[in-house]
C-alpha cells in the first residue's frame, strides 16, 4: 500500500509539473505583442521552403507573426471563406476571380510566376520529349488507352489539379471521362506525394517546377527522391501565376486586414521580389519562382506580359477597382 502511495504521489507530481511548464510556455507564446497573421497557402510555395525564407525577413522588420497553413488552393479558399485565414497565396486565376466576385477577397496582387512541367520516366515510352504540351497530352491518352503508359493526377482540387483539368480540356479531353479509365491514376494528395506515386508507377504527371526540383534525385538513388525527368517545359499553356489576396474584413470580425496589406506590400517590394527571385538559385542552380511585379509594371517582355494578362487578369485587370478597397497604391 505504501509503495502504491509513492507511485501515485509521483504521478500526480509529474502531471502537475508538466501542466505548469506547459501553461508557462503557452502564456509566453501568447503574451507576445506581435499580432497574428494567418495565411492559407498553396503547397508549392510552402513545401519548397520559400515562405520560411520570406517569413524570417518579414518578421525581422514588422510586428507580425506569420502563421502559414499549407493546403491546396481549393482548401485554402475554403479556409478563407470560413474566416480562418487573413489572406491567401494561391495560383488558380479562375477560382480567384470567383472568390473576389463572391465578396470574400480584396486587394489581389500577382506576385510571381513560373511554368508547370510534364515529367515522366527516363526512357519516355510515349516519346513526348520537347513536344508542345497539348500534343504530348494527346499522345499520353492514346498510349494510356493502349496500355503503354500511365498518368497520375493530383486529384485534390488544388491549383495544379485545376490547371491539369484545363489542359485536358484544351487538348480536347474531359477529365471526368479520363478519371474512369484504368491508366489514369487519381492521387488525391500533395504535389510531393503525387510525384512519389508517379515515380513508383513509372507514370507521367504535371507538376510545378519548384516541387519537382526539391524531389528530383539528380541521378543518385536516394530514399524519398524520384528519378522522373522533365520532358515538356516549353509552351505558353504551362504558365503558372501566383497571387496574394487579402480576405475582406467585413465578412468576419477580427480578421487582420492591416497585417495582410502590410505583407502584400512586402511581397511586392523590391526586397520581397528579390527574395523570390534568388530562392533556389544556390541549391538548384535556377529560380523556382520568378518575380512578376516589375515585369508587369515596366512591360519588359511584352509577349510574356500579354500571356500573363490573358491567363491571370480578371476583367482585364490585376484587381478590378471595386476590389482595391482604398489601396490604389498597390497598383500604381
Amino acid at each position: 500500500m505504501k509503495k502504491n502511495t509513492m507511485i501515485w504521489a509521483s504521478i500526480v507530481i509529474i502531471a502537475i509539473v508538466i501542466s505548469i511548464l506547459a501553461t508557462a510556455y503557452y502564456t509566453g507564446a501568447f503574451t507576445s505583442k506581435r499580432s497574428k497573421l494567418v495565411i492559407s497557402t498553396t503547397t508549392s510555395l510552402f513545401d519548397t521552403g520559400l515562405l520560411d525564407e520570406i517569413e524570417d525577413r518579414f518578421e525581422a522588420k514588422y510586428p507580425f507573426d506569420l502563421y502559414f497553413i499549407s493546403v491546396g488552393t481549393g482548401l485554402a479558399i475554403q479556409h478563407a471563406k470560413r474566416g480562418d485565414a487573413d489572406m491567401l497565396l494561391v495560383h488558380d486565376p479562375r477560382a480567384e476571380s470567383t472568390f473576389l466576385a463572391d465578396g470574400y477577397g480584396l486587394c489581389r496582387k500577382i506576385i510571381a510566376y513560373n511554368f508547370y512541367v510534364i515529367v515522366g520516366p527516363e526512357d519516355d515510352p510515349v516519346g513526348i520529349k520537347n513536344l508542345p504540351p497539348l500534343e504530348a497530352l494527346t499522345m499520353i491518352v492514346e498510349a494510356g488507352r493502349n496500355g503503354e503508359a500511365k498518368w497520375v493526377s493530383r486529384g485534390d482540387g488544388s491549383g495544379t489539379h485545376s490547371k491539369e483539368k484545363s489542359l485536358w480540356a484544351m487538348a480536347g479531353f474531359d477529365s471526368n471521362v479520363l478519371r474512369d479509365e484504368g491508366w489514369y491514376i487519381e492521387a488525391g494528395t500533395s504535389m510531393g506525394g503525387t510525384l512519389g506515386i508517379a515515380n513508383n508507377y513509372s507514370a507521367y504527371t504535371l507538376t510545378d517546377l519548384g516541387t519537382y526540383l526539391a524531389y528530383y534525385n539528380y541521378g543518385v538513388p536516394t530514399p524519398g527522391k524520384i528519378s522522373l525527368i522533365v520532358l515538356v517545359d516549353q509552351g505558353q499553356e504551362l504558365l503558372n501565376v501566383y497571387s496574394a489576396i487579402a480576405v475582406n474584413p467585413s465578412v468576419y470580425e477580427g480578421l487582420n486586414f492591416d497585417g495582410a496589406i502590410t505583407f502584400i506590400k512586402f511581397l511586392i517590394s523590391d526586397e520581397g521580389q528579390s527574395v523570390i527571385e534568388e530562392y533556389g538559385k544556390e541549391d538548384y542552380g535556377q529560380s523556382l519562382f520568378l518575380p512578376a511585379v516589375e515585369l508587369l509594371k515596366e512591360n519588359t517582355d511584352p509577349t510574356l506580359v500579354s500571356l500573363i494578362k490573358d491567363y491571370a487578369y480578371i476583367d482585364g485587370e490585376e484587381c478590378p477597382p471595386e476590389y482595391q478597397n482604398g489601396h490604389p497604391e498597390l497598383y500604381s
Binding site: M1, K3, N4, I7, W8, I11, A15, I18, S19, L21, A22, T23, Y25, Y26, A29, V38, T43, D47, T48, G49, D52, E55, D65, Y67, F68, I69, S70, R82, G83, D84, S190, G192, G193, A214, Y215, P221, T222, P223, G224, K225, Y252, G254
Partner: protein, 231 residues
C-alpha cells in the same frame, strides 16, 4: 536499396546527436502538448473510469460500449469535427483556439479520453471480487472496500495514462488540422515528419521518427518496470 535506408538512418542518428536546436524544440513541444492533454484526460477520464468500474447503475453497459467504440475513432475524423467547431464561423470560433497549441491539447485530450476511461474501468474490473468481499468481512465500509479495490488496480491506472500519452503523441490528424503545423508554434513531431516527407527531406523525417519511437518505447518500458517491481 537497403544500403540507402541504412545511410538515411546513420544520417538521422548523426542529426539527433548533434543536438540540432530545431529537433530539440519540436520534441519538447510534442511532449508538453501531449503531456498536458494526458493530464487533462486523466483529470476527467480517471473519475469516469472509476465510476464505471465500481458503481452499478442503469445504462452502464451502453456507456462502457460507447467508450470502447470511441477507442478507435480516426484522428482525421475527430480533427475535422473539431476544426468545424473551432473555425471562426463555427460555434466555438469565439474562443480563438484554432491554430494554437491549446487547440491541439484540447483535441488530443478528447481523443484519448476513451482510452483513459476504458483502461481504468477494465483495471478495476479485473481485480479479484474476493478482495472487496474480504475487505467487507474484515469490517470495512463500502467506501473503504472501494479504496482497497482501487489500491489493487493502481498499476492499471498507470497503464491507462501511459497508453493515453502514447496515443496522443503519435497522432497526426488533430495536430495537423487543428494546429496547422505552424513553425515555432504548433509544429510537433508527427506533423514535421509528414511535412519533411512531403518536402523530400527524408533524413530529418527519419530522425524525428526515431525520436518518436524512442519516447513511446521509453514510456512503455518504464511502466513495465514499475509493474514488475510491484509484482
Amino acid at each position: 536499396m537497403v544500403s540507402e535506408i541504412i545511410e538515411g538512418l546513420i544520417e538521422a542518428l548523426k542529426l539527433i546527436f548533434s543536438g540540432d536546436p530545431t529537433i530539440v524544440e519540436i520534441t519538447t513541444r510534442s511532449i508538453l502538448i501531449s503531456g498536458t492533454a494526458t493530464f487533462l484526460s486523466a483529470l476527467w477520464g480517471v473519475p469516469i473510469g472509476m465510476i464505471l468500474g465500481l458503481k452499478k447503475f442503469r445504462g452502464k453497459t451502453v456507456l462502457k460500449s460507447l467508450f470502447n467504440a470511441l477507442l478507435g475513432i480516426p484522428t482525421v475524423a475527430l480533427g475535422l469535427i473539431l476544426y468545424l467547431f473551432f473555425s471562426r464561423s463555427g460555434p466555438l470560433g469565439f474562443l480563438q483556439i484554432l491554430y494554437t497549441p491549446v487547440g491541439i491539447v484540447i483535441g488530443q485530450a478528447i481523443l484519448i479520453t476513451p482510452i483513459t476511461v476504458s483502461f481504468v474501468t477494465s483495471a478495476i474490473e479485473s481485480v479479484d471480487p474476493e478482495i472487496r468481499d474480504l475487505a467487507r468481512t474484515l469490517g470495512a465500509s463500502e467506501t473503504q472496500a472501494s479504496v482497497a479495490v482501487l489500491g489493487e488496480s493502481s498499476s492499471g491506472f498507470l497503464l491507462a495514462i501511459i497508453a493515453s500519452f502514447n496515443r496522443a503523441i503519435a497522432e497526426l490528424g488533430i495536430a495537423l488540422m487543428i494546429g496547422g503545423n505552424i513553425r515555432g508554434i504548433t509544429r510537433v513531431l508527427t506533423t514535421t515528419i509528414a511535412l519533411e516527407t512531403t518536402r523530400g527531406e527524408v533524413v530529418l523525417a527519419i530522425a524525428l521518427a526515431i525520436i518518436l519511437l524512442v519516447i513511446v518505447s521509453v514510456v512503455s518500458l518504464s511502466i513495465n518496470l514499475i509493474q514488475r517491481r510491484k509484482a
